[in-house]
Symmetry: C2
Subunit: 409 residues, 2 copies
């Protein structure tokens, strides 16, 4: 039976009457995922608080972070230990603070960005918290839509880089938030090599999902710092990562990797802000994982918990929405991007909300919250239990269909 506005409205009234309260908003790990890292919570460090070099990790100091945890993530991220700092509980703070340092002090030998017309390229749809940082810090955002196949629009980026006000670019290179797309080596090498009018142009390479595979394919991260050096732009990339979606989302370890010159620049400015990160948290992580293979094995346990949830989303969207928009089928990361029929996303999210299903606001994945097609809905499947997820995706699909039918009038 084809959907009619009337039947959809009736279905929606039934849905509302169920009084649901479900949440698809944020990419949070579920309790079962967090349980995988409970080994961090019963480690006894009372007789084990010195690192391999004998440093008492309970005391001040150690601005670079604990060597052992940096070594593990050096291998996983493909960044030499001396170029990889371990920090606090949020890589977002590294990103924010680096832009602050650029505003107040300038990057490398450059002038402070403050007071200049500074713009960042923002592949869209992208990560709302990235855009919140640049917006709050007064940086102009230029949306650069991904191509239909999920790849970066390199020619458009090249064109923007001729503008000397373009000083930065946000990028989640692997399993992007929210599209799930990954940059391939050719694209990465192109980004490393493109001429840029601004000599201090920097790509904020947020490799948040470097080890967050959803299939048996476990590609190694692109060796972006090497590509950059080979292209003659060794300082172009700031690399970020964290254990937020590996261990505990609020109590993990963040990482910042870059060229030796950039690391020295960062440390110079960070040294007045802090005496050093929480080394005991870092030491717990080093002890818990043991080595890089420990992390890999751990991530397979995450996959076992969350891949079925992504399969549920894929199945229900195929059943309910074939012919009514499109969606991504990510092989890693934390999100599915649903592209609802143009002009329906805001209404569908509103309908969902009124039926008790919290969905990330339409437009959130775009600079200034503006999705020009009003189409993208970000789905975060990891947090709800499977039964709730099924209910929520069924409901969301109904809301999309109803919004579309309303629009058709």
């Amino acid at each position: 039976m084809p959907h009619t506005l009337e039947t959809l409205r009736a279905d929606y009234e039934e849905l509302k009457a169920r009084g649901l309260s479900l949440d698809l908003t944020r990419g949070k790990p579920s309790a079962a995922q967090l349980d995988l890292s409970n080994g961090l919570l019963d480690l006894d460090l009372s007789g084990d608080h010195r690192d391999g070099a004998g440093t008492d990790l309970r005391n001040y100091g150690g601005a670079d972070g604990v060597a052992e945890v940096r070594a593990i993530f050096s291998e996983l991220l493909g960044i030499p230990v001396p170029q990889l700092l371990a920090g606090g509980n949020a890589s977002l703070t590294f990103m924010h603070d680096i832009i602050v340092h650029a505003l107040l002090h300038g990057v490398a030998q450059g002038e402070p960005w403050y007071g200049q017309d500074v713009a960042f390229l923002c592949p869209t749809p992208g990560y709302d918290r990235h855009f919140a940082i640049t917006e709050a810090l007064g940086i102009r955002m230029i949306a650069v839509p991904y191509l239909a196949d999920g790849s970066l629009d390199v020619p458009a980026i090249a064109q923007h880089l001729a503008d000397p006000s373009v000083r930065g670019m946000w990028l989640v290179p692997q399993y992007a938030n929210p599209t799930g797309s990954s940059v391939d080596e050719a694209t990465a090498r192109a980004l490393a090599a493109l001429p840029a009018a601004a000599s201090d142009f920097r790509v904020f390479w947020d490799n948040a999902y470097a080890v967050h595979h959803l299939t048996a394919a476990e590609p190694a991260p692109l060796d972006i710092l090497r590509f950059a050096a080979e292209a003659g732009n060794p300082d172009r990339f700031f690399v970020f990562a964290s254990t937020s979606k590996i261990t505990q989302a609020g109590a993990g370890v963040s990482f910042f990797g870059s060229s030796p010159a950039n690391i020295a620049w960062y440390k110079m400015h960070a040294s007045v802000q802090t005496i050093g990160p929480d080394k005991l948290s870092q030491w717990r992580h080093a002890r818990f994982f043991g080595d890089a293979d420990g992390v890999r094995a751990h991530m397979r346990r995450h996959r076992a918990l969350i891949a079925p949830k992504f399969a549920i989303v894929e199945r229900i969207l195929t059943e309910r929405l074939t012919g009514h928009g499109s969606w991504t089928t990510p092989t890693g990361g934390y999100f599915v991007t649903l592209s609802a029929p143009d002009g329906t996303a805001t209404r569908a999210v509103q309908l969902a909300k009124e039926a008790g299903i919290a969905v990330t606001p339409a437009g959130a994945a775009f600079p200034y919250g503006v999705d020009p097609r009003d189409s993208v809905i970000r789905i975060a499947p990891t947090m709800p239990p499977e039964a709730d997820l099924e209910t929520a995706i069924e409901a969301l699909a109904l809301c999309v269909l109803l919004a579309e039918a309303e629009l058709a009038g």
Copy 2:
């Protein structure tokens, strides 16, 4: 036998020949002090990671910090829980970031400080890391020497406040770094009430040693936020504290307290920088202490370990340097300030260094590193074992005497 340049030189050569390697530089807790908090390191949170409200502390969120640890320090600091945030492992980061927010966004309804002539009052001698922050962030520092009795020079401060470029003031109100002096209620009320040309004038009230008593007297912190409200300047004070010298120096919890308006201002800007602090670290602290009395009892154990070290410093300085300068006898905090004869501090510190005794560089306790009298030497007695401390203070006293004798020529 009176000292002569000759006998002092001979003694010094003997000292050098001992090939010592001792460190009086930083106010670090000793290993024995850190051991007092090893109960933080064997707490098993694997089945205990929800706060009283049921929030899973392993996941994202909770920008204000864990309520239970805020409640404990609310009582200790005399600040209502809603006005007290718990943060990361360093209150220094709170201070730095607040000045950054002021530079980039302005304080309250004010204009951004960036590009303006902004000055901070700096009671001297003071904390070198405070001065490092203001210097790095391009803020002009105005030294305001403490009076001979260790009290603040309120008339001088009042005079400076007539200058609209004076927007801030550093202050360690209790057991100051490095003088050990404490602000009394009359002075605090005066600071709260003084007219200031800059409507956004802020005192950075760094109560780092609020519970760090060295005697049985355990004065409660001044209720500075109340004084400010009563004086009609409710937003004048930013209060900072941390557990850095209570539990683990590199892995503690920091606190920021202020008026409701200031807390809202801070949270607005911090919300783009972080999703929240490490709640598990905060929860460990709440569990470890239980309540405010748990902290008080804990601090008495610190006192038992470090009061004898301060007594050693006092004894040796009295024996060796009576008539050759003066020194503080702190009743709390982490430092002794030795005022060597004018013009000798740099030389004495250099002599000590050459004999293997690391002392904080002369001038470090002053803005731009300039001690106009070249007199102040900061002594940090907590870290070395008692025998090493005796040796180091004896040696330092000899270096002061030799520097004085050299100067007399």
